[in-house]
Amino acid sequence: MSLLDASATQLLQQLAAAEITAVEVTQAYLDQITRHDATVRSFLSVPADEALAQAAAVDARRGRGERLGPLAGLPVAVKDNLCTTGWATSCGSRMLENFRSPYDATVIARLKAADAVLIGKTNLDEFAMGGSTENSAFFPTTNPWDASRTPGGSSGGSAACVAASMAPLSIGSDTGGSIRQPAGFCGVTGLKPTYGRVSRYGLVAFASSLDQVGPLARTAEDAALLLQTIAGHDPLDSTSAPVDLPDYVGTVREPLAGLRLGLVREHFGPGLDDEVEQAVRQAIREFESLGATVTEISLPHSQYAIATYYVIAPSEASSNLARYDGVHYGYRTDETEMLAELAAEKKQLQAAGDQAGLDDLDTPLMRLYRRSRSEAFGSEVKRRIMLGAYALSAGYKDAYYVKALKVRRLIRGDYDAAFQDVDLIVGPTAPTAAFGLGDMVDDPLAMYLQDLYTVSANLAGIAGMSIPCGMTAGGLPIGLHLQAPPFAEDRLLRAGHMFQQATDWHTRRPELTTASPSGTSQKQLP
């Protein structure tokens, strides 16, 4: 088995047995990046020399018989919204294009402490806002299975690089489905932990009450490995839960006896693609054949989840992104040009004798804010800032934000009731398989519906995972969505592993081309 085909768990065993070196593993993945990332474009930065140096250091320490961390020598790719010292942390935005964080996110610090080799920062929708990675200010990532399609988003780079064997493991973040939907589109395993399970310290905030960092991997077993390292209480994050960390790695291979699956009635309605539905139903039958029982359940408030999400997430985003004002760090407009512009406007207003216009004219500071933010934020980010500022403004707050909080509690209540009777909730990750690049750029509302099945888990703060469960006739992966009660990630991982022992969807690999990404492959109707 080549280094690129091996699972992270296998690589780790071989590394520990000194059958391979960290440098060999890292070089193999770097080579794969060199061969294929011109097409896939999953990485924003690949500091190859540093990665190799890190790998060499691990090999040297292993050679001296030193005690090494649990991910020693294993390459891990990281979404570019996690603060990483020494490297750029751009969030896929012009605003932070040249930003260098002086500190490491807790997740990064834990990866470093585990002796993982950080191989690169992956592409994302700007500030994690989007479902296709097309909102990256730099370039869109393509789906390794079909370069004319999106990898999903916002963790599109993290999903694509694992699918394309450019990293055995990657880190993503999930605010409304941003790990699970791209995992589904790219045919990898992606887990969104319970809110509070993984520290958010150093994760550049999109919507603070919804954001959660999680692993993407080829298998549930590999996801367990990565989650084990990044999860756990962090005193630097007040919302991080002081809950004991289970032994994910030690328990992931234990099958779940008497597993009770709940099938959400509302998730099999209009909008769900036939092929996706068939694959999901087949996967459920597979679980039944493994001893699971399936009951139909209802999440009655899930019909309001998208609306609720698109009030709460933008409200928080509008506040979280206020700090990008061109004053302290990040992008700042050209001040000379700005002052000239203001002077010209002033002159014009004076000439016209427009006193009201002169009174309303921006101060230089106000214009600095206005221009810096207008120039550096993309349109989706602006759209959400405006939505959120509106939803929080006096006179509208009760009708939007406050009401959304109430619905959010009802959605959580639905889950609490459902988990009285079932262990896991099962359904499709997304309504369709990967859609084409550009298909939805002019239709933000259609894009928002991508989150139909995933946002509720964020609103309720519960755990969710997507695993590959089939392929469309056109050769695109289909994701199965499993949801678990708070802090039952171990249950998700065990169910995932159980399924992956019985199926081989997770072993499928795309045939990568080195051709230009611009449309040779045909489009498939969702």
């Binding site: 942390t89 002086p102 958010r200 506040s319 992104l321 700090r323 004002d325 302290h328 500071l365 707050k397």
Partner: protein
């Protein structure tokens, strides 16, 4: 000044920096005066990805203050983001408390021993915690306007204390601030240094003007930029007069067209308030609960424990001193307003000499004077209460008179001697009563004119004899000389 033409309505907003080692949501130092932007970290300068963690000590200080202000402490309080753009606010929002503050509905009693206003309880609307902004320094050189920002202060814990509009004069407002500052000092929660900005005051003022059939209210004005309590009093006086003049020339009422709230800044040089330009849209702070922080819960038992540990607070302490040491209200104010250490000294002194009134007079007249002259604090005063108590006991025993006792105190200060040793060094000893009588007879014989005056009831004439007596024997007690001479004159045949 009381103007019957209107009633002045004043409410105050006081921001107090709490005396913590570290900031409210990070672990940077809060000390004042460091080089700009050296006491900062990713959290307080709002770097991407950073998160706040509440400083429990700051919360405890806020709670202590709120309890001392007789506030109700809800079981549940939360943090809200108050959003606005300004360069000294790097996150784009302040972490504050909006609809569920940590305390509300308290009161603080103010009184004036001079009787300028009646004792009253001023309502405390609420007291809540928030993080401070940084400092902007505007530098205008060579026609180029440049601003510099120091973020050392950013994130320092502030307690915002809002009073009800219960104050009825600038003097009451000043008394409220003095009493509040005193309370905070007794609690040890803030150094209340207005120059360093650890106590900041904004005032809201308008007038209620009685008309024939109703009372009209003038538009509320918020006054900012007041750097001392004196400035607050003056600004309020100026503003009351200004509003009344404005009313007389153009009666605009609160809430009517043109009657919206405005903000004015106090110009201490010119001694006037000036209107501050404010854009209307800036008033929507889009408050919402900060999702990065957990709500804080406080149990009734915790509140009771805080209340039990408050110690003696100024208002109660004054009552205690008046009752226990038989001093009057004015004296109690002077002593308590000097702070706890001076009160401790006074109490020890009163206990040592067994005379509260005398101890109070000595502390106020002599100890405070000496502290002023030497620019020291009572903690540094070299004469202990016990040592001074010995001196006061000697006065009571007639061993030394009050005037000479001041020399003894100076001697004690200069030579570090005990009262007895200092008196010996100054040659002070008790004069025998027969010696005293012969001295008096000697003086009366030598001053027939004084005797004549005394016989005519001009008792002040005896003063001349006291001076002469002290020259002959510095140890004589002037009071004794006075009474004995008068007694002897009265015994003479008329």
């Amino acid at each position: 000044m009381t103007n019957t033409a209107y009633e002045t309505i004043i409410g105050l907003e006081v921001h107090v920096q709490l005396q913590t080692e570290t900031k409210l949501f990070c672990r940077c130092s809060t000390s004042f005066g460091a080089a700009p932007n050296t006491q900062t970290c990713p959290v307080c300068i709002g770097l991407p990805g950073s998160l706040p963690v509440m400083n429990r000590h700051a919360y405890a200080l806020g709670l202590k203050t709120a309890v001392a202000l007789n506030c109700t402490i809800p079981e549940f309080t939360k943090w809200d983001r108050k959003q606005y753009f300004y360069p000294d606010l790097p996150k784009g929002y302040q972490i504050s408390q909006f609809d569920l503050p940590m305390s509300e509905h308290g009161w603080l009693e103010i009184s004036d021993p001079k009787g300028e206003f009646a004792t009253k309880k001023v309502g405390i609307t609420r007291a809540h915690l928030e993080d401070d902004a940084g400092k902007s320094m505007h530098d205008e050189r060579a026609g180029k306007s440049d601003s510099r920002i120091d973020l050392n202060r950013t994130g320092t814990p502030l307690l915002e204390i809002v009073s009800d509009p219960d104050l009825r004069s600038p003097a009451e407002a000043r008394a409220f601030l003095s009493e509040l500052k005193l309370l905070l000092t007794y609690l040890g929660v803030s150094d209340c240094n207005m120059q360093e900005g650890s106590l900041r005051v904004d005032a809201n003022i308008n007038l209620h003007i009685p008309l024939d059939d109703r009372t009209a209210a003038t538009p509320i004005v918020e006054i900012k930029n007041m750097n001392s309590f004196r400035a607050v009093e003056r600004a309020l006086q100026y503003e009351a007069n200004r509003q009344f003049d404005a009313w007389q020339s153009n009666p605009v009422e609160l809430g009517k067209p043109g009657g919206h709230k405005t903000t004015r800044g106090w110009d201490d040089q010119a001694q006037i308030t000036r209107i501050q330009r404010q854009k209307e849209e800036s008033s929507d702070y889009r408050y919402f609960p900060d999702p990065d922080l957990l709500p804080v819960t406080t149990t009734a038992a915790e509140v009771a424990a805080v209340r039990g540990q408050l110690g003696a607070l100024p208002a109660a302490l004054r009552v205690t001193l008046i009752e226990k040491y038989k001093i009057d209200e004015y004296d109690a104010h002077v002593l308590v307003n000097q702070g706890q250490p001076l009160v401790d000294y006074f109490e020890a002194l009163a206990a040592a000499c067994g005379d509260g009134k005398r101890a109070s007079n000595w502390v106020q007249q002599d100890v405070l004077r000496l502290l002023n002259e030497t620019e020291t604090t009572i903690e540094q005063f070299p004469v202990s209460a016990a040592a001074l108590g010995e001196l006061l006991k000697a006065i009571v025993a007639g061993e030394v008179d009050n005037t000479r006792a001041k020399d003894v105190l100076q001697e004690m200060l200069d030579t570090n001697a005990s009262a007895a040793d200092a008196m010996a060094q100054l040659g002070i000893e008790k004069v025998d009563s027969s010696d005293l009588e012969s001295l008096c007879r000697e003086l009366l014989d030598a001053n027939p004119a004084v005797v004549a005056d005394l016989k005519q009831g001009k008792m002040k004439a005896v003063g001349a004899l006291i001076g002469q007596a002290k020259k002959k024997n510095p140890n004589v007690n002037p009071g004794q000389i006075k009474s004995l001479c008068i007694e002897l004159v009265q015994q003479l045949p008329s």
